[in-house]
Symmetry: C2
Amino acid sequence: MDRQRFEKQIRFVVEIDKLKQILRQTITMDASRRENSAEHCWHLAMMAILLLEYAENKEIDLLRTLKMVLVHDLVEIDAGDTYCYDSEGAQHQTERERMAADRVFNLLPEDQANHLRALWDEFEAQKTPEAQFAVALDRLQPLLNNYHTQGKVWQQNGIHSHQVYKRMLPIKEGSSILWKYASELIEDALKKKMLPS
Amino acid sequence: MDRQRFEKQIRFVVEIDKLKQILRQTITMDASRRENSAEHCWHLAMMAILLLEYAENKEIDLLRTLKMVLVHDLVEIDAGDTYCYDSEGAQHQTERERMAADRVFNLLPEDQANHLRALWDEFEAQKTPEAQFAVALDRLQPLLNNYHTQGKVWQQNGIHSHQVYKRMLPIKEGSSILWKYASELIEDALKKKMLPS
């Protein structure tokens, strides 16, 4: 057993506990508080297992998809969460997150650092069927939370339906069925005045 | 597309958001608050990916292990979290959790309900190499959190080292290397007076 390797791995396990403190704009479905990025990743992993049959490419690798949703927010330990409708924050988001990825993943032994970095890069690039499905889930989950909390966060932030539509668009690449469903939710949110047009 | 099936799946995705409100005794590593079961499951999933090479049985199926740690606490939505040193709560825990499993998993279409129930049963039985490794991680993670918060929760609850040893014992079945490490942590916690003997 390589003790140095083991200690790097344990230090990483300790480091990533910090993701539990990264708060997203999305609130939990009981509307009691903001969701954190660790529990958000768990929710996406459960959705990947449950909604796999709706992936556009039926042959996708569930294991890689799960790994991708589990690690996709680790960079927020350094870079924080950027609200998806914050155009100012988005300007520097890529650079901040790339620096974070350089530090966070490299706490691990090299082979594992490369493995997790490759998963993160794959998710960000949205090119493979697994990444496209993972991104679809990452967009659908906050839509569900917003819908089931009567659009409270949308209203607080003055978000309009065209912005939500634009944000949800990548769902289409990952799953046409989930995209259809997301559109129905947005239309219903509009009808119920959770969201201004 | 079977709309009824889809709606059951989405209702389940909405239902399990409740796991984010189930608080454990364990606190996060910054000692700021109690950890919830959803983020705990995410942490275990990350540990499964990172510490897989230490599984006693090197041939274990990572995908099934990940699914198991992701779903193992879902019954707490109904049954709540039972503190591992609460012998009174433990008496009725099995029955409460079985009833919870009957309700929660059966919100899903039958094939998926059976699949998740089988994973939960497998975890609980601690017989397969995957379940033994998953259980080992489920014991090690709170030990790490307790150690890195100077045993605050142990002291609050008057827990002694022999209780922690007993609780950690199943780690041995899942990984002799992680068991050795867990023993070192307990010994060090004793030495540093985080934990009375």
